[in-house]
Assembly symmetry: C2
Homo-oligomer: 338 residues x 2
DNA sequence: CCTGGCACTCTGTGCGTTCGAGTGCCAGCA
DNA sequence: TGCTGGCACTCGAACGCACAGAGTGCCAGG
């Protein structure tokens, strides 16, 4: 196990490197932090830290920079989550309070998060499978054409067109609408399939085809949309990556364009609590020099989706984690109110 | 006016520069194009073209590169629109045909366009004000809470929550729904305000407040959403910008994040036909080194929205214009079918 | 176990040289 | 008048080289 002072040295290295973006040497360290020891001692400590793989030097005769493993130790043991200042908290609240609908909430959130952390923000739309049904609506657009509208407790709305096998009367429609709603309103989307399973049987033979069609579209929608939507923002912050940003930015931009990659990224985050993935801990190769800070958010106790930021491994972890957590909480509140 | 040969020289310069990304000299020009004259003659022509402001040299003793004005002349007089190859056409059709709803169509379009042109693609959602109403739905979520759902002929759906001043009976609701639809279905959104103006008067006093509220939310939605939505893709293609991409990418990414800027950009495009804005012709400063190729698309003859690409001024104009035009046509077809 | 001292190793930078692509200009020719 | 070959000139990119400075590892001494 590393001694107290060596951990302190690692912390100092991380802090300085994050601040200056330059390899940090033993002399500079003792000058900027009151460690109470001489540069020579720090050098010895550094040699140990390097042997253990927490820091590395880009070239001989250069200072040290933290490795992924070093950042990991820093995040796990050395750094807390920095709470936001109260002006920042107020700014968040003001910024989010004006939202008029779910799209707006999500849009504002992603902009806010990007601005607050000066990094790329990713926000997932509230998941369908974890939400509950607020209302199911069926509209008749033409004799044999229906529109299905699904409304969730988080305000999300999905719609689908349905071509019916046979014309469907207005009374049958009202009937189906009423029965559907009485069964599923207030229930979780995940439970819907079983809840509606036997519905067709209770209808007249001539209508059963249409009812089945409607139900299959409904179930399809649930499955399709489990493949969640998400939105990203603040990509211009990628230019803040550091001097080697021209090399780094390409794969990162490509990764960000693949929704699948991002969803997996957020999905890997544990359900509760904040997850930090550092550098090579990210499965996707293009993100090997980035860190991802993600957390779940939701209207109640349970997370309905996740949000987070993507930035260089050399990032201000305490500050970023603080901002991400705070934003997630406020968004949860907003969703609970609506 | 420039002689035929000088125009030919300009065309050759543009083509070579777009291909090689390097300033092109007189010798290389005569070797790669059969102009039938010697380098010395070409040099004289170049001097003239430079005097006229069509080309410039980055440094003395370097080759020439086209200026914005040079590209403008090239696009207006020298270049046609290059039709796509038939495999490309088939690819477009295959790619777009699988779309299930409007979101999907737009999403696929933006990916397709980015891939085809290898540039940043921008696609605007079909405008509300230019669309017609397919259906208006009112749902009662709670005694004094309604949801308004607007459906357009292009398949776009908008919804809004409404808090009523007083409880609103089911019969009143059905009544309002019916009257609303009978007045506005099939009409253009732009005409809706006048069409519903006198609706509250025909209701019982106790319901008038709610009816007015509903109408004001409806009108509000129309206004708000006139500020159109759009989606972008292919930002990783920005890394293809050229050797000075690290400098250029920042302002471009920032501009792309501002929906307002993009909307203005597309808005400037003339209603019919393709618009090309080159370099400094773009009002927004961050886009001074990019060109924008945009065109309207729609389900019928009339454009309901625009789409286009943003790329370096040094782009393959004929090819890009061909791809943009082709994609717009196919999207129009898809929308007309749905 | 810490410290000061010392030799060593690199990288980054500035400077001068060379090389070559490209130009402008001019005299000659059709 | 317009095109061509020739020629001197310019200037940026590439290369080599020396040097300063930051940082290291190691060692002997407290």
């Amino acid at each position: 196990m590393l001694s107290e002072r060596r951990l302190e040295v690692l912390r100092a290295i991380v802090q300085d490197y994050v601040g200056t973006e330059e390899p940090v040497g033993s002399k500079a360290l003792t000058e900027r932090h009151s460690l109470g020891v001489s540069p020579a001692t720090v050098r010895n400590d550094m040699a140990v830290l390097e042997d253990e793989g927490f820091i590395a030097q880009p070239h001989t005769s250069a200072g040290r920079i933290p490795t992924d493993k070093g950042y990991r130790l820093f995040v796990d043991k050395l750094a807390g989550v920095k709470p936001l200042s109260s002006p920042e908290r107020r700014a968040i609240q003001n910024f989010l309070d004006g939202a008029v609908d779910l799209d707006d909430v999500v849009g504002r959130t992603v902009r806010l998060l990007a601005q607050l952390t000066r990094q790329v923000a990713v926000v997932q739309y509230p998941s369908l499978t974890r939400s509950t049904v607020r209302h199911v609506e069926l509209l008749s657009l033409a004799p044999a054409r229906l529109m299905l509208v699904l409304i969730t407790d988080t305000g999300r709305v999905e719609q689908r067109m349905i071509d019916c096998p046979a014309p469907f009367g207005d009374t049958s429609l009202a009937d189906l609408r009423a029965r559907l709603n009485s069964r599923v309103v207030g229930r979780r989307f995940a439970d819907v399939p079983q809840l509606v399973q036997d519905l067709p049987e209770s209808f007249e033979t001539e209508d059963r085809g249409t009812v089945s069609t409607v139900l299959s579209v409904l179930l399809e929608t649930l499955v399709e949309e489990t493949e969640e939507r998400l939105i990203i923002g603040g990509t211009s912050n990628l230019t803040r990556f550091g001097h080697d940003f021209p090399v780094m930015i390409r794969p990162v931009l490509e990764a960000l364009e693949e929704q699948v990659v991002l969803l997996k990224l957020l999905g890997e985050a544990t359900d509760s609590g904040m997850t930090v993935r550092i550098g090579h801990e990210n499965a996707h190769e293009g993100l090997n020099s980035t860190s991802v800070v993600a957390v779940g958010y939701g209207s109640g106790d349970e997370a309905v989706a996740k949000l987070g930021v993507v930035g260089p491994t050399r990032m201000d972890y305490p500050g970023t984690m603080g901002a991400v957590r705070a934003v997630a909480r406020y968004v949860g509140q907003i969703l609970a109110e609506s």
